[in-house]
Symmetry: C2
Subunit: 297 residues, 2 copies
């Protein structure tokens, strides 16, 4: 993108992911806090799922971060709180599409998986790639996950802006807070703002590129289930907290409740992430498999 | 107690604590599985909060494990699902009081706190003390927490029986499963049944006593909150995953969102447990402080 004129930093898209909620509250108490990091842009704060936060639940009626597709945003009305809320947020920060008033959304999430500070990129956007490469080089716990999205169809809040970063921070049980991750997340968000300032000044573009590991979405896999749909195996102990590690054909993937191994039968070595994210049991997702490349960003 | 004639092993008292739910399902598929471990008693299985399990939530209307007080069990009827369910369970396994048909309840729970296999004793009952001392000596991850209860007033399911053990197993995010903890919990439950068999044969009483660390309930403490009731600090990073460790006067206890330490101002050294249990934010409980003694059990 060219100049970054408007940035939205959001928390509470899932109401029980408290790092973003508490960062929002902290930042909202001090409006100048951000603006100083990126004076060349307008930096706005958003508390996205207000009612779910009050209930300390992921969502009230429907996952808000699955409500920003063109299809749902086009509904004239809805009984579903999160669809109405998505339309409000789109009216305020969008409208989604080429005429959106927001250049960049940074949306803060938590995960129960051992993912550190995962920087999720939905597109190969020049600014988010360059800035994320800087951050991945500076923060030992930061990893880059590239999950390409068709923007109009994508249900994620970030796709309301021209470009977006979704931060997935863990491991942290939903409804709780880890102080170390809280401050680390804050430092990463502030660093993105500084890098946006460098971008607007034409500095970031001229810096030497960084060599980074890029984990690219390959395939989501569900838990093994019985004929009634009930989960019939657990993630294998070898994979516990092993996000980003290698999983090769023949490696143990799941373990049944009787202690039998179920092996990975894919054709190639992959790198699983979102291993055992507790909010994804309902989404039929045991982990996301990625491929790993080393790139110059 | 004298002879242990009836034992109830239960899971799913909180519907999103999946170790107990999945152990129940496993055991229910094989009715002989238990009985062989303790032929001298009748061993029954219970899936306690069925509707909350179906919804993968802690509870539907009210925490079931706060519904077994004499006061609530005495209500003629209720609109609250869990109060109705408590009355059903009391009718089936109780009635709570001296005439209860159940001698021992083993209720399986999970916690997001780093508590290993916590053996919670509600009374200084000779069997549960002796058996728990054996288990604490055999399992490196097992710890004894003594939380004395006035049985008639106590809201816990276990108090429907003459004696009870509550297993709190973690760390595990609610709504997920850790295979290692799953099998370790199973081994502990089966070992309790073997020890009940030894008790009924008069063997366990004659074994040499074991020296064990006993963590006794001392005081529950809440998160610091602002005037609106909102949490204004996190558990200090020093205490992250530090269940059972020493906390002395002047040690860091919480950290505010601005990074300031809040110190422990109690008069004596204590040992916190249930640190940052995510389900306890709503209960206004940041951790439970215990005192540690070494005893011959």
């Amino acid at each position: 993108m060219d100049l970054i004129r408007t940035i939205v930093v959001s928390g509470g898209t899932h109401g029980n992911e408290l790092t973003g909620v508490k960062l929002y509250e902290k930042w909202a108490r001090n409006g100048e806090y951000f603006q100083g990091k990126c004076p060349s842009a307008k930096v706005l704060l958003a508390h996205t799922n207000v009612e779910a936060t009050a209930a300390c639940r992921r969502y009230i009626d429907k996952d808000l971060n699955r409500c920003f597709s063109r299809e749902l945003l086009s509904l004239a009305s809805s009984d579903v709180y999160e669809i109405r809320r998505a339309k409000e947020l789109d009216a305020r920060f969008g409208p989604k599409g080429p005429d959106t008033r927001t250049d960049l959304i940074i949306d803060v999430h938590n995960t129960t998986s051992n993912m550190g500070i995962c920087l999720i990129l939905s597109a190969r956007d020049p600014f988010t790639m360059r800035a994320s490469a800087e951050i991945a080089s500076e923060f030992p716990d930061a990893f880059i996950y590239y999950q390409p999205e068709e923007r109009e169809a994508s249900p994620y809040f970030g796709t309301v802006a021209k470009a977006d970063i979704c931060l997935e921070v863990g491991p942290q049980p939903h409804g709780s807070l880890d102080a170390k991750l809280f401050f680390e997340t804050e430092r990463v968000v502030l660093r993105y703002l500084e890098l946006a300032e460098e971008w607007n000044a034409g500095i970031l573009q001229k810096k030497p590129r960084k060599t980074v590991d890029v984990y690219t979405q390959y395939k989501d896999i569900d838990y093994p289930r019985d004929s009634s749909g009930s989960v019939r195996a657990m993630v294998h102990p070898n994979l516990r907290n092993a996000d980003y590690s290698e999983l090769s054909p023949g490696d143990a993937l799941f373990m049944t409740f009787d202690g039998e191994d179920i092996l990975y039968e894919g054709a190639q070595t992959v790198h699983p992430i979102f291993i055992d994210e507790s909010a994804y049991y309902e989404k039929k997702l045991a982990m996301s498999l990625t491929t790993k490349t080393t790139e110059e960003w």
